[in-house]
């Protein structure tokens, strides 16, 4: 075997080790690279800045622990921004594990805002079950919240929650934010809540999903959007709160560079092999 063949058939464990090092070293020794914010994140921030204290916002937890590393940091940054503005958060979930993730967010926010009171400043509505794509769930949340969730996740009746006074459906509130990792998620909120009832929708999703939501951003159906860990880092920069989004960007930088270098190296070897075959032939 010549050098070309050895490099082309490199043991994948070497690649795994390189990937591991490219992620762990920046996490242990961060570089603190500055994050440049983009328009979708800035528009999101600017819209929330226009809301007044006491306004109600829905933060829908439409993701699971598999997407937690990417989406949870944006949930924390958004919740922090909302509570800093003294907004009230209603938290439905279109995914079964959403309520547990919502509970974690509120638990963390209580440490930063000790005055927050459950039932007054935020409520965890729990999982709203339904068929795929979230159409019927979103429809029922928009029109009749009490029918969709007569009790919150702890079994407290709708009428005993002060935050829900005067809220017949989510179409009556200022903004719905969907933190989404698939279906049901942002598409359901945009196609039903925004298209049918004119509800303002903001979105956060994994980086893999992000490209598919750019049509909604361009058409204005999403007032703002955060894509992947980069989106979380941008929002943390905008609200001035250091979190795991910013901490992960150094690691992501080096991981991306590693993948690019591997692809370039593989293609250089590929072309060298072709040239070699031409010369021999």
């Amino acid at each position: 075997m010549n050098l070309l063949q050895i490099l082309q058939n490199i043991d994948r464990r070497i690649i795994y080790v390189l990937m591991f090092l490219s992620v762990i070293v920046p996490l242990v020794k961060p570089l603190g690279l500055p994050i440049q914010t983009t328009a979708p994140a800035e528009n999101f921030y600017d819209y929330i800045e226009t809301l007044k204290p006491g306004d109600k916002v829905a933060l829908s937890f439409d993701y699971d622990p598999a997407s937690r590393p990417e989406v949870h940091p944006m949930a924390l940054a958004l919740a922090y921004h909302c509570f800093r503005k003294k907004l009230k958060i209603i938290a439905p979930s279109l995914w079964p594990v959403g309520p547990s993730l919502a509970a974690e967010i509120f638990h963390d926010m209580k440490k930063e805002f000790p005055h927050l009171k459950y039932g007054v400043d935020f409520v965890n509505l729990g999982y709203i079950s339904g068929p795929t794509q979230g159409v019927s769930q979103v429809e029922s949340l928009c029109t009749d919240l009490k029918d969709a969730r007569p009790v919150d996740v702890h079994g407290t009746p709708y009428d005993e929650l002060p935050i829900l006074k005067g809220v017949k459906g989510l179409k009556d509130i200022r903004l719905v934010i969907s933190l989404s990792a698939g279906d049901p998620g942002i598409p359901g909120w945009v196609q039903i809540a925004n298209a049918r009832y004119g509800v303002k929708i903001g979105g956060g999703a994994t980086a893999v999903q992000a490209p598919q939501f750019y049509p909604y951003i361009q058409s204005g159906q999403l007032i703002g959007f955060l894509g992947g860990l980069r989106g979380a880092a941008e929002y943390e920069t905008l609200v001035g709160r250091k979190g795991t989004g910013m901490a992960g960007m150094d690691a992501q930088s080096f991981a991306h560079i590693l993948i690019i270098l591997l692809i370039v190296m593989a293609n250089v070897l590929f072309f060298l092999e072709k040239q070699q075959a031409k010369w021999k032939g």
């Binding site: 795994y16 937690r68 594990v97 547990s100 029109t143 960007m249």
Partner: protein, 213 residues
């Protein structure tokens, strides 16, 4: 009648739900809520079926001592423990901050969450290995795709500003213009396809879901 009754039910319920979208008042709104509740109830039975099937498959694997049967033991043990705590304690008492505290939530937070995150994180290693082995610029289109991928991958991370200040803007342009156009085309195409397939099912032209005679 074995096929005609389900076809008729599909047509009637489908038409009611379509009308309900445009006329949300009685009786269509009430019918829609009823059908939605029925769907949830049927979904619960489907979950039960899935659980019984899972236990049956792994139980058989253990009894036959098939390859990897010990993993099945771990699975059934974990299922039993989680189900026991879930059914015994439910979601637990409300604590200031709204977080549930009980053994079930402990299993979720310190078992399920890290494990599911780990499984997803493994993708990073597989992507790196697959990229090295498979991503080749064999054609002009493949080269174009790779160049776009490089620009977006670099532009989306903060180190790109140190390499070239314009990289983030180029990446954002790729996402906002060519990507957006392609995604919109896919969205519209998929929506038209879904309408066509749904109409075929409602009108009984598509009968694969009823099984063979």
């Amino acid at each position: 009648m074995k096929r005609e009754i389900p076809l008729m039910m599909t047509f009637i319920i489908g038409v009611v739900l379509i009308i309900q979208f445009f006329v949300p008042h009685r009786p269509f709104g009430v019918l829609k809520s009823t059908f939605a509740n029925w769907t949830n109830i049927i979904a619960v039975f489907a979950i039960l079926l899935g659980i019984l099937s899972l236990l049956k498959v792994h139980g058989e694997k253990i009894s036959r001592r098939a390859e990897g049967w010990y993993y099945s033991v771990v699975l059934i043990f974990a299922f039993a423990i989680t189900a026991f705590f879930g059914l015994s304690f439910g979601l637990g008492e409300k604590v200031a901050g709204g977080e549930m505290r009980n053994p079930f939530f402990f299993i979720y937070k310190y078992g399920f969450v890290p494990l599911q995150g780990t499984m997803f994180s493994l993708l990073a290693f597989f992507v790196a290995s697959a990229a090295y082995r498979a991503f080749r610029a064999r054609t002009f289109e493949a080269t174009l795709l790779l160049m776009a991928a490089f620009l977006v991958m670099l532009g989306r991370v903060p180190i790109s500003q140190k390499i070239w200040g314009k990289l983030p803007y180029i990446a954002e342009w790729i996402m906002k213009v060519p990507n957006m156009a392609g995604q919109r085309a896919i969205l519209i195409g998929a929506a038209l396809g879904m309408i066509s397939a749904s109409l075929r099912i409602l009108l009984g032209l598509e009968r694969e879901h009823l099984g063979r005679d």
